[in-house]
């Protein structure tokens, strides 16, 4: 009930301690990581393209975009304790920046995009669309624009120590405001429909399955790159500091660090990752619209992370892909049931397995290796939280 929880009381941290505790195992460190990345690369670049149909592969490309957002949420929320319910905004900023460029490229120089001609209110391109005609501006903007917005909001909010639920609500309100703004400015943003029917991607025709595969490979490579970045970040001194801020912000402040700055960096990085994901989502799916970036999709990004394991490196990615896959598979067959399942999944995982599915893995290993671990699991489910607390901090 205290405002600043004691270090280690967050149940998620049980699964989120850096790998230092595993030192001394047979197979660890750089070799293990390299093997992990090699396995991931083999799956993404060889197994998936060879076994999946074009249709399934393009679905996988879409899921991997969601997974890229999840990597960012894993850093901001899992590691930094900032529950951001507005990642859709950054995903959308990246997506719209990319889609605006592709629409302009489709239309050809000096022409208006098709939807502007359709609504017929404009004779010439609005001023704020013009920079996006150049790929040299549009491409960096897909990442830098979300980071700039996150920096603006974050530097205002974190410095004044707005945190916890307050921050979550504010980030969600940002998503609501963004969607309403996009829908309201139909003439220049495409309104509810969004920017649709994107055909070319830097001179390549997106209808061609070969080019769709190329987009898939770009996305898979980007995801691996983001994972490598996240891994370096988590293992760095900054990563340790971020976890420390999550578990005891006041203590970090008393030690002479600036928690606002630490949080800001994590939030901005997460925003950049979401922006990149949005930018790559556009050629993969061919559309970006307010319905893909609003409040509901923003929370759905968080679900995957919660299910997979918020504080782990791979958990968010696997959780995001699994949830997105289950959504497609189940809503194809039983449309109504999926919503119940989604809600139930959320309730059960967050309430009873806060470390996500990744913590099952950790618990199983703990149980096998020493009997005390098994006792910890049993006792943590006991009603008395104080008992759990001493157990965890003693561990």
């Amino acid at each position: 009930m205290t405002a600043a929880p004691l270090v280690g009381t967050d149940p998620a941290s049980a699964a989120g301690t850096p790998a230092g505790g595993r030192r001394g195992r047979r197979f660890d460190g750089p070799a293990r990581t390299a093997a992990g990345f090699a396995l991931g690369a083999a799956l993404l670049f060889a197994v998936a393209p060879l076994t999946l149909s074009d249709f399934r592969l393009s679905l996988l490309a879409k899921y991997l975009c969601v997974a890229m957002v999840a990597v960012g949420i894993g850093i901001a929320w899992g590691r930094g304790g900032m529950l951001t319910l507005g990642q859709g905004v950054f995903f959308g900023l990246g997506g719209y920046a990319m889609a605006m460029h592709l629409k302009l490229a489709d239309a050809g120089p000096g022409e208006l995009p098709d939807f502007m001609q359709l609504y017929g209110q404009l004779d010439e391109l609005p001023l704020w669309w013009r920079p996006f005609a150049s790929p040299w501006i549009a491409l960096p903007a897909t990442v830098l624009l979300p980071m700039a917005v996150a920096f603006g909001l974050g530097s205002l909010v974190f410095r004044r120590r707005v945190r916890g639920a307050y921050f979550a609500i504010l980030s969600q309100a940002l998503a609501a405001a963004m969607v309403i703004l996009l829908v309201g400015q139909q003439g220049t943003t495409g309104g509810t429909n969004g920017l649709t029917d994107i055909q070319g991607f830097f001179g390549y025709d997106l209808d061609d399955p070969v080019n769709q595969r190329m987009v898939y490979f770009i996305i898979a490579a980007s995801l691996l790159a983001l994972l490598a970045l996240a891994r370096q970040l988590i293992r760095s001194r900054y990563g340790e500091l971020l976890v420390a801020v999550r578990d005891g912000e006041e203590r970090v402040r008393f030690l002479g660090y600036d928690p606002a700055g630490v949080k800001l960096v994590g939030y901005v990085i997460a925003a950049g990752m979401a922006g990149l994901a949005g930018a790559l989502f556009v050629p993969a799916v061919g559309i970006i619209s307010p319905a893909l970036i609003g409040i509901v999709p923003s929370i759905e990004f968080v679900i995957g992370v919660a299910v997979g394991g918020r504080a782990t490196l791979l958990g968010p990615v696997l959780g995001a892909v699994a949830v997105a896959w289950a959504r497609t598979a189940l809503s194809e067959r039983f449309p109504g049931t999926w919503t119940y399942l989604q809600g139930l999944l959320f309730v059960l995982v967050v309430a009873f397995l806060p470390g996500g599915l990744a913590s099952l893995w950790a618990l199983a290993r703990q149980r096998r290796s020493d009997p005390a671990g098994a006792r910890w699991w049993r006792r943590s489910r006991a009603a008395d939280p104080a008992e759990t607390r001493t157990e965890v901090s003693a561990a």
Partner: protein, 295 residues
Amino acid sequence: MTVLFGQLFTGVSIGAVLLLIALGLALTFGQMNVINMAHGEFIMAGAYTTYVLQQTVTTAGWSLLVALPVAFAVAGAMGVLLEVLLIRRLYARPLDTLLVTWGVSLMLQQLARDVFGSPNVQTRAPALLTGNIALPGGLTVANNRLFILALALAAVLALTLALRLTPLGRRIRAVVQNRDLAAVSGIPTARVDRTTFFIGSGLAGVAGVALTLLGPIGPTMGTNLIIDAFLVVVVGGIGQLKGSVIVAFALGVLQATGEYLTTLSVAKVIVFVAIVAFLQWRPQGLFTLRTRSLA
């Protein structure tokens, strides 16, 4: 002058709706530091209660009157159920409570879709509340908006009196101010929490009844309102009601003025920017509850 008054009244009536929704939140968020995302679905439950009652009590005026207490009880019971089953177990993790209750709200929305169908339904408003009242000077105000304003003010008054004068209210205030001290003084905090949750959720039901006067009833009607209501509580400051009252009306007027001067969508952005700017000045909200507890 007429335009100004018209905008002001629109703003006040937007504020009244916000206030009705935010009152319940101020109570539950303030007391238990719990963000209940399913609050919006309790509003929906209140609205559908009105709809169901109108199938049996066909006189629109009577059904509305009956609906007020029934919706309070229905939504309140749902709140208690939620508190007992889930929220009680998660007090130490407020952020997780937010996510869990969002999962619950998803399920409740789908339930409403399965029971009442996806299309919106409409209730009939009593004849008394459909017209306008002409004020001297060529001003008109809509009766239903006036009714909602009166209802919101009555709810604030009743809640304030209950918190100040009744033994239950004293216990609630004690738990809000210092939970541990209240517990060692012999106040059954768990039972007080449950009662608070009943009242807070019940108020959402009442808000739902009021909303049937303004528009159609649909499964997702709560989602859009709930964020604005949370902003009211965040800006107003938790632990007391006066902040929420002032902020609800202020945001309503700001929204209406912004809408008049620009467009609806730009007004929303203006409100958001104003809130972030306000939190620079007072990050804990308009009024903070000062206690000597270290928490």
